[in-house]
């Protein structure tokens, strides 16, 4: 099976302003391998290093040590990003553009022929249910609508790998269900999905495999079914156990 995403001893350190600390290790020697067709959940509490890892995968941040590859190409090469789609946690797009113009802009960036662009835009706007507002400027959209147009832009190049950073954050239940449906649909099409989320019930439903990151270190990795069978509990409890969380009950 083809390896779509690979990190080798990935380490990211930041300089900090705090006196006495000097450098903070955001990601510590991370080794990850995601195979084609998998839906991979990347979990961890806030500040665990999930977003930093995604930043490296997308070329926004250079690793201090180690390498990361997408489709066998080092992420430092822009061509590594030709076959991926990315949805950031907080989606903001050019507010003065309409949904249609935004998708056309990204299609042009990706070199999609104009004859094909119209078909894709129509299909994607139907998928994210924004057909009726396609001519409206994005500044008039609600948060949920902006998240959906974000998803449409991530899918414009029909990507083989979709990287989603907390895609359901701030969405209402209908919006969450819609995102879940889209992820499952992509899995059905054989696409690879790599996503971070704090919604562990949702992760358990849609993911094949998960990795749990804590304080920059990979603490656990495996198939969701294997983990829940081994620990005889749900993913949320496994997660809390792995990060060493102790519930403090009120007196």
């Amino acid at each position: 099976m083809e390896t779509i995403l690979l990190t080798e001893d990935l380490r990211v350190e930041y300089r900090t302003q705090t006196s006495g600390v000097g450098r903070k290790v955001a990601v510590r020697d991370l080794n990850l391998r995601v195979q084609a067709g998998e839906v991979f959940g990347f979990l961890g509490p806030n500040g665990a290093g999930k977003t930093t890892t995604m930043n490296v995968l997308l070329g926004f941040v250079n690793p201090t040590h180690g390498n990361a590859y997408l489709f066998g190409v080092n992420v430092r090469e822009p061509i590594a990003r030709q076959r991926i789609g990315f949805l950031p946690e907080l989606t903001y797009y050019y507010k003065f553009l309409t949904a249609e113009e935004l998708l056309r802009f990204y299609a042009r960036i990706l070199g999609i022929p104009s004859s094909e662009t119209d078909k894709r835009i129509a299909r994607l706007l139907r998928l994210v249910e924004l057909e009726a507002v396609r001519k409206r400027p994005i500044k008039t959209y609600s948060k949920g609508m902006q998240q959906r147009i974000g998803l449409a832009q991530a899918l414009i190049n029909n990507p083989d790998l979709l990287i989603l950073d907390e895609p359901t954050s701030g969405l209402d239940p209908i919006g969450r269900m819609k995102v879940r449906e889209i992820i499952q649909r992509l899995r059905g099409e054989g696409k690879t999905v790599f996503f971070s989320s704090h919604e562990l019930g949702e992760v358990e439903t849609v993911c094949d495999r998960v990795a749990i990151l804590h304080e920059g270190e990979l603490r656990m990795e495996g198939r969701v079914s294997d983990l829940t069978q081994k620990y005889q509990t749900d993913l949320e409890k496994i997660f809390l156990q792995v990060i060493g969380y102790q519930s403090q009950s009120c007196p």
Binding site: V61, N62, P78, R81, Y106, R108, I109, G111
Partner: protein
């Protein structure tokens, strides 16, 4: 090239969907028309002053558009987080910088065409003369000058995080060059060392934007600038623009962008 053109297209769309350009144009038009309507001292040559004022307003407006548009490009991309889905595509930071430059420069070009057409109509209506080639030459040199300004501001925008700080600094630098640039060598002669050498170095390093200002030729109805000189000035502007964009890229290429 397609990526660069797509990026430039967004900058141009932004310009004509914002109010800045329209406000500046209406302001320039109103001031010029009001002044043109008045008959000062029954002076038949008053149209010269009218052209002078209109050209000054065009220069001020064009600088405001160039600096205002270029200064917000990269910081706004980062602040609004639009840079992340963009750079997650196969777009390099060099593409982004060149696309932004091209967009700002073309936007300035469109604004200049509107402003100079207005000037030609106003002066033509009063003087019944249409020195189209003079206006074209002035517009071209003005546009080349704005290329240098846009390049400089883009470089500033990757150094200074606040667009307002960058715009203010660049405005002071550009106005300083326009007003004092041509006098620096003379001032240097009158200074003791090492100030004299420093001023000379500054004189030779700064882009001489004042060379692109041919307003006086239009106001006083003088002849055209020799075309080889226009070509050399264009090459001079291209060299400075490329240098500023290169400096911007050197700063921006390794800059960490955190989501």
């Amino acid at each position: 090239m397609n990526k660069i053109l797509a990026l430039a297209g967004v900058v141009i769309k932004e310009l004509y969907r914002r109010k800045d350009f329209y406000v500046l144009f209406i302001l320039t038009a109103l001031i010029t028309l009001v002044m043109g309507a008045a008959n000062f001292f029954n002076d038949t040559n008053i149209v010269r002053y009218l052209i002078e004022i209109c050209l000054l307003l065009i220069w001020i407006s064009a600088l405001a558009i160039a600096i205002g548009t270029a200064a917000r490009q990269i910081p706004a991309e980062r602040e609004n987080r639009t840079i992340f889905p963009l750079l997650a595509k196969p777009v390099t930071r060099a593409h982004l910088l060149v696309g932004k430059f091209l967009g700002c420069w073309l936007a300035c070009g469109i604004a200049l065409v509107v402003f100079y057409t207005f000037l030609a109509i106003v002066s033509g209506a009063r003087e019944h003369q249409w020195p189209v080639v003079h206006y074209f030459q002035a517009l071209w040199l003005h546009w080349m000058c704005l290329a240098v300004v846009v390049g400089l501001v883009l470089w500033g925008s990757v150094i200074f995080s606040a667009p307002s700080a960058n715009a203010t600094i660049c405005l002071i630098v550009v106005v300083g060059i326009l007003l004092l640039g041509r006098h620096l060598n003379v001032v240097a002669l009158r200074q003791a060392e090492p100030l004299s050498s420093i001023l000379y170095t500054v004189y030779f390093v700064i882009p001489h934007l004042e060379w692109f200002d041919v307003r006086d030729l239009i106001i006083h109805g003088q002849g055209l600038v020799a075309w080889p000189a226009v070509l050399l000035a264009s090459l001079y502007a291209a060299t400075y623009t490329a240098t500023f964009l290169l400096m911007a890229w050197l700063v921006f290429r390794r800059k960490a962008l955190n989501v």
